[in-house]
Amino acid sequence: MQVQLNTIHKQFGSLVANDEISVQFEPGRIYGLLGENGAGKSTLMKILSGYQQPDRGEIVLNGAAQHFASPRQALAAGVGMLYQEPLDVPVFTVLENFLLGRAHDGERPQQSAKALTQLAGRYGFQVDPHEHTRELSMGERQQLELLRLLAGGAEVLILDEPTTGISAEQKDLLFASMRTLAREEGKTLILVSHKLDEVQELCDYAYVLRKGRLVGGVQLPCPNQELVDLMFDELAPRPARRQPASGDVLLHLQHITVRTPRLELEPVSLQLQAGQVLGLAGLEGSGQELLLRACAGLLPLSGGSLRLGGQPQPDWDYPRARQHGVAYLAAGRLEEGLIAGLTLTEHMALVSNAHGLLVDWPQNRQLAAQHIATYQVVGQPESYIENLSGGNQQRFLFAMLPQNLKLILMEHPTRGLDIRSTDWIWEQLDQRRAQGTAIIFLSADLDEIAARSDQIAVFSGGRLLRSVPAAETTADELGHLIGGAL
């Protein structure tokens, strides 16, 4: 099936996720959709699969314009998407999940089971129709989901980062089945990925997105460098690097490990001086979030030790971190940080730490008004926080940070912000840095990491790959490291 996406535009608030993107996919071929985090790949594919609706633009299948209000409609028209997290019901059996959401009236269970095993056999998958889905590995769940989409009549298959969390053998099996689907059955396959090697290995052609725009299409295989150049902005000439602060060691991590169900952080050791900025680079889910949250005391260390200002901190947790002057700003401002339904004044009163019984509303209103002026927030003391724009929410979050912090930990501090807000926020951070506050932040924006850090740590698959002074690395090197090409 031939797929055309014409001038697809999608905006979330002030963030343009897809900016007039036009691409075309031909049957019998495997396409790669490349781009760094936040480039707009997932949004574009969610639009194609009916999960989200575009603000403008059209979807054309075999020459006929389509409008999908739901994934179900998209699948009925032949477009199926395999999400990063398969959409199955863990307590159902494999067979029940296979039949879920499809008309199978009058079909006997034995017939359905036979159809499932036959279909699976065609691609070398081994399934037991009566096993419970929760017993399956991620790779097996993916196979099941793929079979479900095929049985549902998918002619176009979208796979969103399918190789995260599956074994090497499962990956080989998956790629083999994708080749069969394209070459022998004439399906249209789209692989969404930021892993260059995989795309080079599997795909015939790659579209590259950057910051919501289509920046190019490349016949594969090609030199990795060509893709890296397309994926990442040319780094702006770096301002003369300030001499890294030569303060005392503030944070000392020794062989710390963090364990979560999804990912394990392998031992990390590093030191951070007062006034120093450490940027954490890597694909989303490579371990840098775990490190940041462990430093904030939000995730327990499963091994190693953390020292703050020379003092060992054996029982590190978030309330203790706050007491010691550590602040943490999460990526989701309204999920983890601000409270929808509370006004700016109420936020001020909440963090004011006053011990009196009753709130002094006039005083807090005045305080909120002061912060609004100082931090140039567009809003009123009585505004509900959720009605502010993302940039203004971020400014207000900074306004609520206590003075004299030792360490600020941030996830994507400027994601979705315009240039003015971004510069303003880093100005604020620089002032604090000058007073000796150390900063650790992670970002998907390599420009930001290269320009704002003293030291850069690159993560991949739960490992700290390399830690280099920012002055000694190049844009290329970072891009390659992140693409897993080095």
Partner: protein, 351 residues
């Protein structure tokens, strides 16, 4: 156009009430009863004589106490279904003091009321600990504790606290006169308890609008994760909200045994806790509306007792009226939500 829209919006909250009245009226007509007779009987039952008004007020006291407590827990995002059990345990604790302690009234009664508050608070804290430590949702923990409280009451009545003359009477022996709340003009109303209920409600109102604690509860209820990151100790505040709610509910239970009844009975609460949940839901968690709705419920339920005597209708009519009302308000009370749902339906029909 926009003017008529805002006018519609303004009268919207009244519509579910009118609809509930309509449904009940149709029900009455279907049963062949004159609605006018039925409603006037209800009115007479609630406000016909001063004794009846006192009865409405006496029933209102525990209801308002429980509803005030629920305003706190709802604000913190907690569904304190266990409030029924907290009322019962308050009644049990007050009864324990009434049966086992002999003091002059001036000491006895405050001690009973304090015990009632402690009993309710402990029972609520138990549900809170189950949630914060055991990960048991407060709805399930609360329901289990409600049943336990009922079983415990039955055990006490049938066992250790059985009246000496034996078991046909489903309750303990009446408490001594010194242990009971002084009643107003031969009614079941204790003015002291009414004053306490009003003070409790005013206190809750002050906490919710003007205190740091109330603000922390609001933050927790709106977004527990953000509240934690902004330094609110979520477990402690949740437990405290539960305990204070339980104390108020327990006080209500104490008032039940010390004035409405004169002993611990089998169904000592009789669903006042669930009724209080309905009151707060119907009031939409709004402070000003809560006592008004509680009063309305108390009047309807008291009135329907007379209704049963006067007409041949069962007094459940009052329950039906309040039940339908709550349902309609929850379904259609929020103008914005109704409008959105309507729009969605229409756009689906178009597409």
């Amino acid at each position: 156009m926009s003017l008529s829209k805002t006018r519609l919006e303004r009268v919207w909250p009244l519509l579910p009430g009118l609809a509930a009245l309509l449904v009940t009226t149709l029900l009455l007509l279907a049963m062949g009863t004159s609605p006018v007779d039925a409603y006037s009987a209800m009115w007479q039952g609630a406000f016909g004589t001063s004794a009846r008004v006192y009865s409405v007020l006496a029933f209102l006291v525990p209801l308002l106490l429980a509803a005030s407590g629920l305003l706190l827990t709802f604000k913190a995002g907690l569904w304190n279904i266990g409030i029924e059990g907290q009322i019962i345990m308050g009644a049990v604790a007050a009864s324990w003091v009434a049966l086992r302690v002999q003091l002059p009234s001036g000491l006895q009664i405050p001690l009973e009321l304090l015990a009632a508050m402690a009993g309710g608070a402990l029972w609520a804290a138990l549900a809170g600990v189950l949630k914060t430590r055991g990960g048991v949702h407060e709805i399930f923990g609360g329901l289990a504790l409600n049943n336990l409280a009922i079983l415990f009451t039955n055990y006490l009545i049938a066992g250790p606290w059985q009246p000496p003359e034996g078991g046909s009477f489903r309750g303990t022996q009446p408490f001594g006169a010194h242990a009971l709340l002084p009643l107003f003009e031969n009614s079941r109303l204790s003015l002291l308890s009414l004053a306490l209920a009003i003070v409790a409600f005013a206190g809750v109102a002050l906490v919710l609008t003007n205190s740091h604690w109330g603000l922390r509860l609001k933050a927790l209820g709106q977004n527990a994760r953000s509240a934690f990151l902004l330094g609110v100790s979520s477990n402690r505040e949740m437990l405290l909200a539960m305990a204070v709610c339980g104390a108020l509910a327990g006080l209500g239970g104490g008032v039940r045994v010390l004035s409405w009844f004169d002993s611990l009975r089998q169904s000592i609460s009789g669903g006042i806790g669930y009724l209080a949940l309905m009151v707060v839901l119907l009031a939409g968690f709004r402070l000003v509306l809560t006592p008004l709705v509680a009063f309305f419920f108390s009047a309807v339920l008291n009135g329907s007792i007379t209704l049963q005597l006067r007409t041949q209708l069962h007094s459940a009519l009052g329950d039906i009226l309040t039940g339908v009302l709550v349902l309609l308000v929850l379904l259609f009370g929020n103008y914005e939500r109704v409008r959105r749902a309507f729009r969605r339906r229409r756009s689906q029909a178009d597409g």
